[in-house]
């Protein structure tokens, strides 16, 4: 990218921001910018990484894998996990259960060394508090800091660094051109 082009684009962005009427929110944030104390947020955020329940909602990013049953769940490999205490709300976990793919969760639990997930999805009669607590611990309190997610269909590895999984694909797998050639 040439300098001129870069500067041109940056200017375009600035123009866009200064154009037109300011919204109420924008006007307020300008007015109050000097008066609001800056709070320390570092401690709050450093400990915060990817919760295990995320695995229930994701699959391989490669389009061709979506139709294959073996692309779900993605497999955790070489992971480093952290436990973080989270407020336990039994009703929340119970309401969450219908959304959970049980076979997938069992696979994940084994990969992470959580042997306590029962073979069969509990129903309202078999659910008890200890089981809800176990699930709470696995799904919400366990956080993945580092490691890999591997697709069981195409073998593609997605890295997790600092709790952020990277699903960007190289050119030949993605749907849109990337910088890499």
């Amino acid at each position: 990218m040439s300098l001129q082009k870069v500067l041109g684009k940056t200017m375009q962005l600035d123009d866009r921001k200064s154009s037109g009427e300011k919204t109420d929110r924008l006007r307020r944030s300008i007015d109050s910018a000097t008066t609001i104390p800056n709070r320390e947020v570092d401690d709050l955020c450093e400990a915060f990484v990817m919760r295990v329940i995320t695995i229930n909602f994701i699959t391989c990013a490669v389009k061709a894998c979506k139709a294959s049953a073996s692309s779900f769940p993605l497999h955790f490999q070489d992971v480093e996990v952290e436990q973080q205490e989270v407020h336990f709300e039994p009703a929340f976990i119970q309401n969450l259960l219908p959304r959970i793919d049980w076979t997938g969760l069992r696979t994940t639990a084994i990969e992470l060394g959580f042997p306590t997930v029962p073979d069969i999805k509990p129903n309202n009669d078999t659910l008890d508090e200890p089981m809800l607590r176990d699930l709470h611990r696995l799904l919400l309190e366990t956080q993945v800091v580092e490691g890999k997610l591997v697709c069981g269909n195409c073998g593609h590895e997605y890295s997790i660094k600092d709790g952020i999984a990277n699903f960007l694909l190289p050119d030949h797998l993605g749907s849109s051109p990337s910088l890499e050639t």
Partner: protein
Amino acid sequence: MIPTPSTSHVSFDRIYEPAEDSFLLLDTISSEEESAWLCRRFSKEIDQSPLFIVEAGTGSGVVLAFAAANPKEIFGRSDVLTLGTDVNRDACKATRQTVLRAVDDKRMGYPGEDGLFSRLDLMPGVDPGESGSVLEVENAETGKETHFLASMTTDLCAPLRARNVDVLFFNPPYVPTPDMPPLPPPSTADESSSMSKWEKFERDSYLLSLTYAGGLDGMETTNRLLDAIPEVLNPWRGVAYVLLCGQNKPEMVKERICDWGGGWTAEILGADNMQAGWERLVVLRICRDGPGAASPSTVTKG
């Protein structure tokens, strides 16, 4: 008005700074009319399972944080799971900070970016004895059922499993440009410590170009997201909010969606909030309606 989440910890030389478009999204989803609509659609009496809320292209995270910190006001319930994606890894980091901070600010009663308080009893000049103790109790509950799952570096919704998303937000790169910046490669270096000043400038400019450059009609990225909607949204109760500018030809986009069939409809919201400026912003609400929509979900198999 619900406070704007604080983003003072975000560095805007490579992450999109919340602007009119971001705020129009906030105002639209929290308007009396829209939140009433959302509360009906997501009523616990219809379906008890927690909401799965996703934002694509989170940038600073201001929109996702707004939803995560105020689910009761917006959706009428506090049990929500939130997840954010962006192609810019720095934006992913910023997002989780912003979301976490907003939820905490709400609980503690700190003011938002705009100096607004969500707890009247902490507002300067208000006698704590008189203001609603109800609010205090409600705020104490904040965050107990609100869980931020993850920030992920990805193109749009690429790794999301089909038919799971209840609420999807997207404030896209919507400015018409002669060409599109390529997406970052997977190997994007994490730290820029070894970069020269010039390299850093180039890198920041590239990341900023990703925030606004929309290619033909400003729609190239938005079109790809729209195509993914029938696949990622929960077909019963899912709803997507997509911001568009005038040059994106919102009316035509709306008609195209109604032509999808299968009960998909689109509605243009927020048009009268923002008449001035060259970009005339609107919010498009996309969901499936008609028979079967918003009936008990049986989407995820067990």
